[in-house]
Structures are given as structure tokens and as C-alpha cells.
């Protein structure tokens, strides 16, 4: 009971504290974002405590278990990184579009097409590994880029709002998979034939024997490299500059000679290409085939990752690790409390961060425009 009182008092205080720190931006916007993330996390832990108490367990014990199972040992850590990999790529995908003022809700559909294309390329194209692996990645990126670019095209030429079109394209993709899937799936299953050995992304346990049994694979490197590239693209190249200009001031960008329509299509295509790579870790590095529903909603979690990470590549990586920790941690505490507790933690973190930052205010203004 005492804890309930603590939470009731402390939660709003923490929220106000985080907001205030963000507003004042002592030490710059970066530190402010860190403060927001920290206070949002603390807030969610407090709220989670109430629920854990309500089911009759000890919050401290549950959190201890959660931490021990994730960051407490090498296997746990590697699993966190494995879970974080697709989250990071989805977050980066959202970030690219978001920085150009676009709201890509279609990551889920784009990553499905990307993963499917990767699996088929990997299963049927023969050749040396150094050729086939990049080819699979390119196939995935292209397959993801096509529907996203289509939504960009609708927006650029007809003014159709991308929130609507990308969301609808999710359903189109799902319906298409219902039709196409059975033609290529292994009989009586919902997955494709395994990819050839040459197309596999190596598991890191091959190089670090201590990681034995972990699903962590070279897909992690793809995510890290992608984050660096996205950062470079957006802040260091003329193309990225014009995309950000369109995102922050479309009229000024146009007046300065940027072709906004073209920029919108480019941003969506790049965002979709990134989404197309989300499945790489699963398809090329873990299960070795495409399977219906493999993503578990990662495409939508990507939005949360991007918001938590302040739509900055490094932030996205950190946020992906945080949410990856929760996702892996759910399995560790399942014996004591329902693992859905971590969903509550996740949701609270997202809510708090969204409420504290102006970034998300812009995000909702975009959504309102639909």
C-alpha cells in the first residue's frame, strides 16, 4: 500500500521533472533527450511496480530478475542485442521519413515484402557468399522501397496523405502475402524453403565461442552501419540537407530550388529501403527462412524507437537496446509474473517520452493533418 502512495505522488513529479529538464535544455538538446529517457524509464518502473504489487509479487525481485536475465550474463546481453537489431532498423526507417516531414506507418508492410524478397533471393540465387549476401540485402531494400516510394509518389503528385496510404499499403501487402505465400511456402507451413548456406549471415558465436547458443548474428553490424550511414546522409550530405529542409520548412525548401515532390519520393524510398532490411537478422541470420508474422509488430515499434531516440541515429540505437531489454526481459520474469508486465512498462515509457518532448508534438500535428 505504501508503494502505491509513493507511485501516486512520485509519478507526476517525475513527469514534471523530465518535462522541465527538457524545456530548459541545460547542457544542450542531447542531454535533455537523455534526461527525458531516464525520467520516462523511472516513471515506467514505478507504474510497473504497482501492477507487480497488485499480482502479489515483489517489484524489486521482478526487476532484479529482469536485469539479471538480460544484462546479467553474456547470453542475456547477446539476446538483447539480437532483439534490438530489427527495432533499430525500423527506428531508422521511421527516422528518415520523419526528418523529411513524413510519417511512414507502412514499415510493417515494407519489412514483410523486404524479408520475403530476401528469403527468395537467398533460397534460389547461387553464387559465392560475398556476392549473394549483398544481393539478398539489395533485394530486400528494393522490395521495401517500392511500396514506400509508391506512397511518396501519391503524396507528391496527388497530395494523398502518407499516413493513410502507407497504412493501407500494409493491408495490401498482407492480402498479397495471403495470395502469394502458399505458392512458395513449404507445404503445410507458413514459411519459405530455407536459404542456401552462401546467403547466410554468420552468427557471432562462430567468432566468439562464448556466445554459443545465442541468435545474435551479423545483422547487428548491418544495423550499426545503417545508423552511421543515416546519420551521415541526413547531416553531412546535400541530399540529406534538402530532405531535412523539406521536413522543417517545405515552402522555404521549394523557394530555394529543392524539388519537394522529388524529395518526398526519395525520403519515402529510403525509409522503405531501410524497412526492407529489418528482416535481415531474422531471415538471413536466424531462422534462415521467411515466415508469416515473424516481425511481431516491429514495424510499429519502430515509431516508438524513433521517438524515444529523438529521431537521431545514436538515440535510435540506444532506444532499440532499451526496448530490446524489455522484450527479452519479459521471457525472464514470466515464471514470477505475467510477461505482459513488460508491455505495460514499454507503453509507459513511450507515453511518458511522447508527452515530454516537443518532437512528438510535431509528430501528432502531422497525424492530425490526415
Amino acid at each position: 500500500m505504501k508503494l502505491v502512495a509513493v507511485v501516486v505522488v512520485a509519478a507526476p513529479l517525475l513527469f514534471a521533472f523530465g518535462r522541465r529538464l527538457y524545456r530548459e535544455r541545460r547542457g544542450g538538446p542531447l542531454l535533455a533527450q537523455v534526461w527525458v529517457a531516464l525520467s520516462a524509464t523511472l516513471l515506467s518502473l514505478l507504474v510497473g511496480s504497482m501492477l507487480i504489487l497488485a499480482v502479489g509479487s515483489s517489484p524489486l525481485e521482478v526487476y532484479r530478475l529482469l536485469l539479471a536475465g538480460t544484462w546479467g550474463n553474456l547470453h542475456g546481453i547477446s539476446q538483447v542485442f539480437f532483439k534490438a537489431t530489427p527495432l533499430a532498423l525500423a527506428g531508422l526507417s521511421f527516422t528518415i521519413a520523419f526528418r523529411a516531414g513524413l510519417f511512414n506507418i507502412g514499415i510493417e508492410g515494407q519489412l514483410t515484402l523486404g524479408a520475403f524478397a530476401m528469403a527468395l533471393t537467398g533460397a534460389y540465387v547461387r553464387g559465392p557468399s560475398w556476392l549473394v549476401v549483398p544481393l539478398c540485402l539489395v533485394a530486400g531494400a528494393v522490395a521495401g522501397a517500392v511500396p514506400a516510394a509508391l506512397a511518396g509518389l501519391f503524396k507528391a503528385t496527388r497530395g494523398a496523405h502518407e499516413v493513410i496510404t502507407t497504412m493501407m499499403l500494409n493491408f495490401v501487402v498482407r492480402a498479397a502475402m495471403v495470395g502469394v505465400g502458399p505458392l512458395v511456402f513449404v507445404r503445410e507451413s507458413t514459411h519459405t524453403v530455407p536459404i542456401l548456406a552462401a546467403a547466410e549471415l554468420p552468427r557471432l558465436s562462430l567468432y566468439f565461442p562464448s556466445l554459443h547458443g545465442s541468435a545474435l548474428n551479423a545483422g547487428l553490424l548491418i544495423a550499426v552501419v545503417a545508423a552511421l550511414l543515416v546519420g551521415w546522409l541526413l547531416w553531412r550530405t546535400p541530399l540529406g540537407f534538402s530532405l531535412r529542409a523539406v521536413g522543417l520548412g517545405a515552402d522555404a525548401a521549394e523557394a530555394s530550388g529543392v524539388r519537394t515532390g522529388r524529395a518526398i519520393i526519395t525520403a519515402m524510398a529510403l525509409s522503405g529501403a531501410m524497412a526492407g532490411l529489418v528482416g535481415a537478422s531474422f531471415v538471413l541470420g536466424y531462422k534462415r527462412y521467411y515466415e508469416d508474422g515473424f516481425s511481431g509488430g516491429v514495424g510499429f515499434m519502430g515509431i516508438a524507437v524513433a521517438v524515444l531516440g529523438g529521431a537521431r541515429p545514436v538515440g535510435v540505437l540506444v532506444a532499440a537496446l532499451a526496448l530490446g531489454t524489455l522484450s527479452e526481459g519479459g521471457l525472464c520474469i514470466n515464471s514470477v509474473v505475467p510477461k505482459e508486465i513488460v508491455d505495460v512498462l514499454q507503453a509507459t515509457v513511450i507515453f511518458a517520452a511522447v508527452a515530454m518532448t516537443p518532437l512528438s508534438r510535431r509528430l501528432f500535428r502531422l497525424a492530425e493533418a490526415t
Binding site: 553531412r236 546535400p238 529542409a245 520548412g249 522555404a252 521549394e254 523557394a255 530550388g257 529543392v258 524539388r259
Partner: protein, 509 residues
């Protein structure tokens, strides 16, 4: 002696490491017309916020009719201000366009009889107020149908209806025509005669001289001086606003004009239902500044946008150095040397959330692009940025600050600086000094004059007649989308240009 209506004592406010107001004190008696003048960024807006209470002051106090205003939060303070009889007439109207005048006036304080809205007394009140102070507006007219001047009267009625004894008007004349300004001044004099105190925030000195009894000059967040208007001159006020030695004189060498650089040939631009630009032909030579005068909304905006490539031509041709650019994209035109200082600097000129430095790169990425477009040369950008900052005296001189955090005048300096960086062939300037303080305006005008003297062809659209007079070789007048006259300032008696232009703008033959 009765207490002053408004007494501000040593209020200070800082935002981060920027001191917006430092120990500001002034007072105004009942029935006084008191002006607060200062350049943009001098702290006038902050002072208004502190006065009204929308921002709490860090220190100092505000007394209304001798009573200290209390309240910790902004909401409490504003409520206290209104209760004590302080009313604010905002620069940007706070009106609901789809409601009637009376509905807007009562909004938030709706008179209710038996649970129902009853407007009859309010309508009578408004008619009484209107008759008394010359604020004639039909209480039942929908606000969307009103002219700008009428909408402003509704704002004034609103605060009067709530019992305001002190009225603060923030840059009230910025959007008015000369006739509307006269009408407003008549109203303000009536109000003062009836014992109300009027605080007028402005940077137009002729208005201060014509209307007010006392004037407080602000500079860099501090009060420089308070004068009786009768005992001061515009010149002295201007010097105090700008500070010693900061006024840049505009000089033009008026050398030989070069070849025709920018030629408009019977261009027609349609917008929405009507024709905005109706067959305008105009030639600007190298080294020449051609001014376009006219009452706002007579097609000048569309003319500039069409020449910049941001609006399609319905017919006609545009040539730059003999080359037909009628169908070229805005980017292409820029690449050919036709630059554009956009009229709406917030919307089209700058990306406010970009840094000053990034704004300098807008439309100029090609200049800094290297490694086949895989990298931008940030070092060179920084050098150019510091050059612009130095040349235009952008304050604060920090390239990494967001454009949003600069005052309007400094934003405009950045914008003009960017467009002049690559020594353009031709320059379109739309209202380059609107809402800009004296020091910045002088600097911007000098830069435009220097560009022309260096051989740039300049098309200058402005509503500031003295600006056209000082800068232009020729001035054309635009009315209802057509050019209705042309004047050469040099050949006219000083002062007559204004009259002649005014007559043409109003439609006299």
C-alpha cells in the same frame, strides 16, 4: 496626487543566457498616450509580456493604479491584470473568423440569462462604446467579412467591453493603410481624452510624434530614456534607439546602366479565381534598381513569385540575360543567377528550425558539395557564415543558433546575406525591410545598393516609400495587376514622389 495608472519598477527577465529586459522602469498617468519605441530585439515584446503577465518577471514589480499586481503563475497574473483594468490589443488578432463581432467580444465572458446566452445587452454596450469612441463596427457582422482595420477595432472593443482602463497596443499600425492609421489615431485620442491610458508599442517614430505625449526608448533590453514628445525630435529618438554610430548611410553611385538583364514580357499570372498579374512588361538593366510600389494585394506578391519560378505563368515570357527562363524551375533560375529575397521570411525565406549556418546553405548546397555529393564542406560554410555575420552585424553572432531564436531584423539580415553571397545576376527583393528595425533596415538597404552598384539588376517590391525613394532608379506603380505608372525619383522634387505615388496607387489618373 493620485497614483499613476501604470507603474513598472525595475522588472527584469532573462531567457537562458540572454537578458531580454534589465531593470526596466517607466510609468504612465491616466489619460496619457505613452509610446514605447525600440528596434526589433530591444526587448519591447518581452516587456509587453511582463506587463500583461503572460510571462512572469524574474524580478521587479508592476503596479496598476497604485496596487501591486500579485500572482505567481502566468494565468493568475493575467487574470489580475484584466481585473485591474489592463487590456492587450495583440498584433496578431485573436478573433474567431466565423463568429460575429459581438460573439467574439463576449467570448470567454458570455452573459447568461436563465442558462441561455443573451447578447442584447452586449450589443447595446458595443453600440454605446462605438458611438463614444468612434469605433463603429456592426456588432452582428461576421468577423471574416471585416477589413483589417475593422478587425482591429473589434479587438479594441473587446478590451474596452471588459472594462479596460489601460490599453496596450502592440505594433497596431503595421497592417493598416494610411487612412486606417488616421482613423485608429483618432480613436486612441478619444480614449485618452476619456481618461484611459494608452501604451503604444511601435518602431515608427512619425507615429510617436503625431500621437503620443511621452515616449520611452528601449535598447538592448534596457530603458535608454523617457522624454516628453514635445521636447524631443525623431532624430534624437532614432539615435537613442540605434545607439551611437550604428546608423549606416545608404549611398548609390548611380553609374552607367548595363545591358537589359531581367526582362518581363506581358506576363500574366492567375491565382485562384482571378488574374493577379495582368500583362506586366518591365525591363531591369544591370546595375539598376527598379522599385514596384502599390497597395498590398495588387499583384506584387504574385509578380515576384512568378519571376522566381514559384508560380506558373499563364502567358508571357521572362528572360534573364536574353535567355528565356519562362519554363525553368526555381532551382534552375537560381543556378542561372536569379536570386530571391522572399517576402514571407518565416515561411519561404528561412527554415526557422535550422541554424543560421544551415539557412545560409539553403539553395546553395552545390557550393559546398564535395566528394560527388557525399559530403558538405562545413569549414567553408562556417567561413562564409562568419563573413555574413560580420558584414551584416547579425546579433548574436553565433552560426549555430537556430534562426527562430533571432529577432526579425536579424533573420532578415541572414536572408539577404544569403541571397547576396554568390553575387547574383539579378535579385528579386520583396519587402526586404518590413517589420525590421532601423539599424537592420539601413544595413539591408546599403547591401542592396552595393549589389546594384556592382552590376546586379534589382527588382525591389516595397510598401515603404522612403525606401523606394532612397534606392531606386525608377519606380513603377502596380494596381490591380497592372503597371499604372512610372516615376524617376532623381528627377522629382524631394518629397513629391510620395504624393505622386500615393495618387497612382489610389487610382487617380
Amino acid at each position: 496626487m493620485s497614483a499613476d495608472a501604470l507603474d513598472v519598477r525595475a522588472v527584469s527577465k532573462r531567457y537562458g543566457d540572454c537578458i531580454a529586459n534589465r531593470d526596466v522602469s517607466f510609468s504612465a498617468a491616466r489619460g496619457e498616450l505613452h509610446a514605447i519605441v525600440g528596434e526589433n530585439g530591444a526587448g519591447k515584446s518581452t516587456l509587453m509580456h511582463l506587463l500583461y503577465g503572460t510571462e512572469p518577471a524574474d524580478s521587479g514589480e508592476v503596479r496598476l493604479f497604485g496596487t501591486l499586481r500579485r500572482g505567481r503563475s502566468a494565468t493568475e497574473q493575467v487574470a489580475a491584470s484584466i481585473a485591474a483594468g489592463l487590456g492587450m490589443v495583440h498584433q496578431h488578432f485573436m478573433l474567431v473568423p466565423s463568429l460575429t463581432v459581438v460573439e467574439n467580444v463576449v467570448l470567454g465572458r458570455e452573459p447568461v440569462t436563465a442558462g441561455l446566452l443573451s447578447l442584447d445587452t452586449a450589443i447595446a454596450d458595443l453600440q454605446k462604446l462605438g458611438a463614444r469612441y468612434g469605433l463603429d463596427v456592426d456588432p452582428l457582422a461576421e468577423v471574416s467579412t471585416l477589413s483589417v482595420g475593422e478587425a482591429q477595432r473589434v479587438e479594441i472593443l473587446k478590451v474596452l467591453w471588459r472594462g479596460a482602463e489601460i490599453l496596450i497596443l502592440d505594433e497596431p499600425t503595421q497592417i493598416l493603410t494610411p487612412t486606417e492609421v488616421e482613423a485608429l489615431f483618432a480613436i486612441l485620442r478619444e480614449l485618452a481624452a476619456a481618461g484611459k491610458t494608452v501604451i503604444l508599442v511601435t518602431h515608427k517614430l512619425d507615429e510617436v510624434m503625431a500621437l503620443c505625449q511621452k515616449v520611452t526608448v528601449m535598447r538592448a533590453g534596457e530603458v535608454v530614456a523617457t522624454h516628453l514628445v514635445a521636447e524631443t525630435t525623431p532624430k534624437q529618438l532614432a539615435a537613442e534607439m540605434v545607439g551611437e554610430g550604428n546608423v549606416v548611410e545608404v549611398t548609390r553611385t548611380h553609374g552607367e546602366l548595363g545591358e537589359p538583364r531581367l526582362e518581363l514580357d506581358k506576363i500574366v499570372v492567375r491565382r485562384q479565381a482571378g488574374i493577379a498579374v495582368d500583362g506586366v512588361s518591365l525591363t531591369v538593366r544591370a546595375g539598376e534598381i527598379v522599385g514596384v510600389a502599390g497597395v498590398q494585394g495588387n499583384g506584387q506578391t504574385e509578380l515576384v513569385l512568378a519571376v522566381a519560378g514559384l508560380l506558373d505563368l499563364s502567358s508571357g515570357k521572362i528572360r534573364l540575360s536574353q535567355r528565356d527562363i519562362s519554363r525553368a524551375s526555381s532551382g534552375k533560375r537560381r543556378a542561372l543567377g536569379l536570386h530571391h529575397v522572399a517576402e514571407d521570411r518565416h515561411q519561404r525565406g528561412l527554415v526557422l528550425d535550422f541554424t543560421v549556418e544551415e539557412n545560409l546553405m539553403l539553395g546553395r548546397t552545390a557550393t559546398y558539395s564535395r566528394w560527388l555529393g557525399l559530403d558538405l564542406d562545413r569549414v567553408r560554410l562556417r567561413i562564409d557564415c562568419e563573413e555574413v555575420i560580420r558584414h551584416f552585424d547579425v546579433r548574436p553572432p553565433r552560426p549555430e543558433l537556430s534562426a527562430r531564436s533571432l529577432s526579425g531584423g536579424n533573420q532578415q539580415k541572414v536572408l539577404v546575406g544569403r541571397e547576396l553571397l554568390d553575387s547574383p545576376q539579378a535579385l528579386l527583393c520583396a519587402q526586404p525591410t518590413r517589420g525590421v528595425d532601423l539599424g537592420a533596415a539601413a544595413r539591408i538597404r546599403a547591401a542592396i545598393a552595393a549589389a546594384a552598384d556592382a552590376g546586379c539588376a534589382v527588382l525591389l517590391v516595397s510598401t515603404e516609400l522612403e525606401e523606394l525613394e532612397a534606392l531606386c532608379d525608377r519606380v513603377v506603380v502596380m494596381r490591380r495587376g497592372r503597371l499604372v505608372g512610372e516615376l524617376t525619383p532623381k528627377t522629382l522634387q524631394p518629397g513629391t514622389l510620395r504624393q505622386r505615388l500615393g495618387a497612382l496607387m489610389a487610382g487617380a489618373s
